[in-house]
Amino acid sequence: MTRLRVRYTKLGKIRFIGHRDLARVWERALRRSGLPIASTEGFSPRPKMHFGLALSTGFESLGEYLDVDLIDSTDAPQPSYAEEVLIARFAPLLPAGVAVQAVAVIERGKSLQAAVTACSWVIDLDGVAPTAVGGAVDRFLAADEVILERVRDDQVVEVDVRACVEELELIGACGLPGWESGTSIRLDLGTASPGLKVMELIGLLAPEATAHRVCRTHQWIEGAGSRQEPLAVTTASALAERQAS
C-alpha cells in the first residue's frame, strides 16, 4: 500500500470548522479526486485517512498534515502522484482557505501525532499593550520555572511548564492574510509532557488579552541532527499557496 502525505493550510473563514467537519470535507474531496483511495471495511466504507495533531476550532494553520492510504493496483496504470499534478487536482475540490501546499509519497512509519515534537505558532493579541506583552515575554524567558495550575480530577495540580516553551518573542506585523498587525507573538511549543496549550500560555503571559488570531505556522519532527518539517513546502507549491489565498 502506498501512503501519501498531504500538507495543507486552514486559513480565513474556514478556521471555524471543527476537526470532524474538516475530516468530512477531506473525505468528499478524496472521493472526488479520482485517486485509488483505500477504504475501511463495513457497511459504510470511509477513506483511510490519518490526521496529524488536532487543531482547535478557530485556529488557523500554514502546516496541517494528512496521510492517506492508496491501493496499489497491478492491472491499472499507476496514477501520477507528482506534486504539481495533485496540488492542481485538489484545488477545486477544497473550500477556500484549505489549500494543498505539498504532497509526497512517504514510508509507512510512526504516526504523525507521535512523531511531531514541537509546533511553531503566531498569535495576534487584542486588548493589551505591546509593551506589557514584551515585559511578560522577557520575564517568562528569564524564569527558571513557570508554574501553571491545572484542575485534574477536581484537584488543583501545579505543573512547571517553562520547558514546554522553546522560543518566544514579540513581533510586529506577522504578514498573514487578513491579520491586523496589533500585538503579535511568535513561539515554539514542545509537545512533550506536561504540554502547554496556546490558550494556557496566553493566560500566563497576558490574562487580560484575547487571542484574536492564532496560527500554527510549522510542525516539527526530529530529523538527522536537526529538526525538520514532516513535509517541506517547495517553491512551486508555495506559489500555489499564494494563488489560493
Binding site: F16, I17, G18, V25, E27, A29, P45, A96, D126
Partner: protein, 647 residues
C-alpha cells in the same frame, strides 16, 4: 462587501458551533451585483443545520443568481448566543455567502415551513433593522416576503409581511424581481410603498395582506376584501406545470459542517394525490408532476460526481410512488458497485412489501432501521384519514422487513384524529406488539420504536373544520398507550409534547389578531419554538390571555360549513365543496382512491388551472393497496434479499 465579517469573526470564538455562520459551502455564490439588479436575501428562519438543506430555498437561490435582473444570498436564524452578541455589538442580520448586512438587499424573503418558526421570523426582521410591522416601513426599507407551505394561511403574519407567495416559486420570483426593478428604476418616493404593494398584488400568486380589509363578526371573520381595484378578491397559487423545465438545484450546496439531511437530494416528483386527509402538503401541492426518469438519472450522476456525497435521497411526498423508482434505485446502486459505493434513501416509505423490497436493495437503511408511517392504529381510523393501509399490507411490510435482515423499525402515528376512540388509540399499541412478534420470528432482538404526534388540523385540508384535541386529552391518550405498552417487550414509545402541538394548532388556523400574540411571545424571549429546550407553552397562553383571545376558539372548536375561514381569500386550487364532501366522507369512514390512476374528483387543483398530472406509469405501482384501488399485492417484482455491503 464583507463589511460584516471583520466584526463577526471577533464574536464567533465566543459562540457554539461557529461553523453555522461562515458559509463556505461548495456551490455557494459570491454575487457582485450591478446597481440595476434586485438583491434577494433568502432566509430560513431556523438554525443553519436545519435550514441549509432546504431544497426550495436552494432552487430559488440558483434561479435568482442566473437571472440577469437579480442576485441572491442566504441567511439563517442565529442561535441565541450569537443573537445576544449581535445585539450587544450592533451587528445586523447578515448573509452567509459574502456576509453582507440585510440592508444591502431589496428583498428579505423567508421560507415558512413550520408555524413554530414564526417568532424566529420576527426576530430576523428585527435583527435586520427592519421595522416589524409593514405599516412602519418606508419606501427604501427592504420588502419582507414569505413563501412555503405555511403561507396558505399567512394571516397570523399579515402585519409583518409585505407580500406572500402561494405555491411553486420557480416562475413567480422573476415576475416579482421585475416589479421591484421597475419600481426602483422609476425612483422611489416617500409614501410610494403602497404603489409597490399594488404592483406586487397584480402578480398572480402574490398576496399582499395590507391591501385587504378584514371585517369581523364577533370573534369570527365576516369578510376579507381588497381595498383597491386591481387587487384580486382571491389569490390563486402558482403551479409549475412541468418539473422537467426546472432541473434545480443544479449545484446543490455542500456544507462544510454537519447539517440535517447531509446528502444529495433529488426531487423525483412534486405533489401527491394519495389524498391523506390530515396531510396539508399533499393537498396544497396537487397535481402530481413527475420528473422524467432520464433527468433524475442525470441529476443523480452529476450530483454525486460534483459533491462527493455517497448518499442520494430521492425526495417527494411518497417516493415509492414514482413511476421509475425501481429502475432509478437499482441503477444507482448498480452503477455504484463499479465505482465508489453509493446508497439511496427514500425519506418517505410507503407501508407495503414492494417498498421494503426497494429498501432492501438499497441496503444502507438497515443501519438506522426502517421507518413507516401507518399514522393510525385501526383500519377504521385509517379509512377516516384516507391512509388506506390494510392490516395485511402492514403485516406484509413488517414481515419482509425482518425477513430481509432489519432488526429495528420506527413507526409514526398521529393521535387526536377526528372520531378517534380509545380503541383506535390502543390500536397503535396493538400494531407495535404485532410488529415485534412478527420480527421475533426472524430475529430475537427485534424492536420497534413508536413515535406519536398530536394531530394539528391544517388549512386547505378536509380536516380544517375539526377541533383539535386539548392538551389534557392528548396526554390522556399518550397515557393509555404508555400503560398498555408498559410490559410490552421490544416496544419503545416516544411522543411529541402536546403543549407544542397546541401552540402549533393555535397559529395554524389563526387569523390576523394572532399577530399581536406572536409578537408578544417573541418579545418575551420565545424564539426557536421548534426546539423543546426553548419552548414554553406559558408564553403562549399568557400572550393569548393578554390579548383577550380564546385558545378554545382558535384550536379546539369545530368549525361549521358556513363559517368564513380566515384564509378563504386565498386558494390552493381546491374547491371548498370538495374539501367539505371529503370531510363528510371522512366521518363516514369512506376512503377515496388516488386520482392519479382513477377518474378525477374535480378537486380543482388541475381543473381550475388547466394543468394535469404528469405521471409516466398509467397503472398504480406494484404491491401497494393504499389508495390505488388495487386489492392486495400479488407479486413483488423486486428481490427481497439485502444486497451486500454498500454494493
Amino acid at each position: 462587501m464583507d463589511e460584516i465579517w471583520p466584526r463577526l469573526e471577533r464574536l464567533l470564538p465566543r459562540v457554539q458551533k461557529p461553523a453555522r455562520y461562515i458559509g463556505c459551502e461548495d456551490g455557494a455564490q459570491a454575487p457582485e451585483p450591478q446597481p440595476e439588479q434586485v438583491g434577494w436575501l433568502l432566509v430560513y428562519p431556523d438554525t443553519y443545520e436545519v435550514g441549509l438543506p432546504n431544497q426550495g430555498l436552494q432552487i430559488l437561490y440558483e434561479i435568482l443568481n442566473e437571472h440577469p435582473l437579480s442576485w441572491a444570498e442566504r441567511g439563517y436564524a442565529p442561535w441565541s448566543d450569537l443573537d445576544q452578541l449581535m445585539r450587544q455589538e450592533g451587528l445586523p442580520f447578515f448573509s452567509v455567502d459574502t456576509h453582507r448586512p440585510a440592508s444591502a438587499f431589496d428583498i428579505m424573503a423567508f421560507n415558512l415551513s413550520a408555524e413554530l418558526t414564526y417568532t424566529n421570523l420576527l426576530n430576523c426582521i428585527d435583527l435586520a433593522g427592519i421595522p416589524l410591522r409593514t405599516a412602519h416601513r418606508s419606501a427604501d426599507t427592504p420588502l419582507v416576503l414569505a413563501g412555503g407551505h405555511c403561507t396558505y394561511n399567512p394571516e397570523p403574519l399579515a402585519d409583518f409581511l409585505d407580500a406572500v407567495v402561494l405555491g411553486d416559486g420557480e416562475e413567480v420570483i422573476a415576475e416579482i424581481t421585475a416589479v421591484v426593478h421597475d419600481f426602483r428604476s422609476a425612483g422611489r418616493t416617500g409614501g410610494s410603498r403602497v404603489d409597490l404593494h399594488r404592483a406586487l398584488a397584480a402578480v398572480p400568486g402574490v398576496y399582499v395582506p395590507s391591501l385587504y380589509d378584514v371585517e369581523w363578526d364577533g370573534p369570527a371573520v365576516r369578510s376579507v376584501t381588497p381595498r383597491y381595484p386591481g387587487v384580486p378578491e382571491r389569490v390563486e397559487k402558482r403551479t409549475v406545470a412541468d418539473l422537467a423545465d426546472w432541473p434545480y438545484p443544479r449545484r446543490q450546496l455542500v456544507p462544510v459542517t454537519e447539517v440535517v439531511h447531509d446528502r444529495l437530494n433529488v426531487e423525483v416528483f412534486r405533489g401527491c394525490t394519495r389524498g391523506c386527509r390530515f396531510c396539508q402538503a399533499g393537498m396544497i401541492t396537487r397535481p402530481v408532476r413527475e420528473r422524467p426518469v432520464q433527468q433524475v438519472r442525470q441529476m443523480i450522476a452529476d450530483g454525486l460526481e460534483r459533491t462527493g456525497y455517497d448518499e442520494v435521497a430521492l425526495t417527494s411526498l411518497s417516493s415509492a410512488d414514482y413511476s421509475g423508482i425501481a429502475e432509478v434505485v437499482s441503477e444507482t446502486v448498480r452503477s455504484a458497485s463499479s465505482g465508489r459505493p453509493v446508497s439511496v434513501s427514500l425519506p418517505s416509505l410507503r407501508v407495503d412489501a414492494f417498498t421494503v423490497g426497494v429498501a432492501a436493495e438499497i441496503g444502507r437503511a438497515r443501519r438506522t432501521g426502517l421507518t413507516f408511517a401507518p399514522e393510525a392504529g385501526t383500519w377504521r381510523m385509517r379509512q377516516v384519514i384516507n391512509k388506506l393501509i390494510s392490516d395485511e399490507d402492514f403485516d406484509g411490510a413488517v414481515e419482509s422487513a425482518y425477513a430481509s435482515g432489519w432488526r429495528r423499525m420506527k413507526l409514526y402515528f398521529l393521535t387526536g384524529l377526528p372520531s378517534e376512540t380509545d380503541e383506535d388509540t390502543l390500536g397503535i399499541a396493538e400494531m407495535a406488539r404485532r410488529a415485534v412478534s412478527i420480527g421475533r420470528r426472524h430475529t430475537k432482538g427485534a424492536s420497534v420504536t413508536v413515535s406519536v404526534g398530536g394531530f394539528v388540523p391544517k388549512p386547505f385540508t378536509p380536516f380544517q373544520w375539526f377541533g383539535q384535541n386539548t392538551v389534557a386529552e392528548l396526554q390522556r391518550k399518550i397515557g393509555l398507550l404508555r400503560d398498555d405498552l408498559r410490559r410490552a417487550g421490544g416496544v419503545q414509545l416516544k411522543w411529541h409534547d402536546p403543549k407544542a402541538t397546541l401552540a402549533e394548532g393555535i397559529v395554524s388556523r389563526g387569523d390576523r389578531r394572532l399577530g399581536a400574540v406572536i409578537e408578544d411571545v417573541w418579545r418575551n424571549g420565545g424564539v426557536f419554538q421548534e426546539w423543546s429546550e426553548c419552548f414554553d407553552i406559558d408564553r403562549w397562553t399568557a400572550a393569548m390571555e393578554r390579548h383577550g383571545l380564546s385558545i378554545d376558539w382558535y384550536a379546539h372548536r369545530h368549525r361549521t360549513e358556513d363559517e368564513v375561514l380566515p384564509w378563504e381569500h386565498l386558494s390552493a386550487g381546491l374547491h371548498k365543496d370538495f374539501l367539505w364532501q371529503d370531510w363528510r366522507d371522512a366521518l363516514d369512514a369512506v376512503g377515496l382512491e388516488d386520482c392519479r390512476w382513477t377518474p378525477c374528483y374535480d378537486c380543482g387543483a388541475c381543473t381550475g388551472y388547466g394543468i394535469e398530472h404528469i405521471v409516466a406509469s398509467a397503472v398504480p405501482p406494484a404491491g401497494g393497496s393504499q389508495g390505488t384501488g388495487m386489492s392486495r399485492p400479488v407479486a413483488v417484482p423486486v428481490r427481497l434479499v439485502p444486497s451486500g455491503a454498500g454494493a
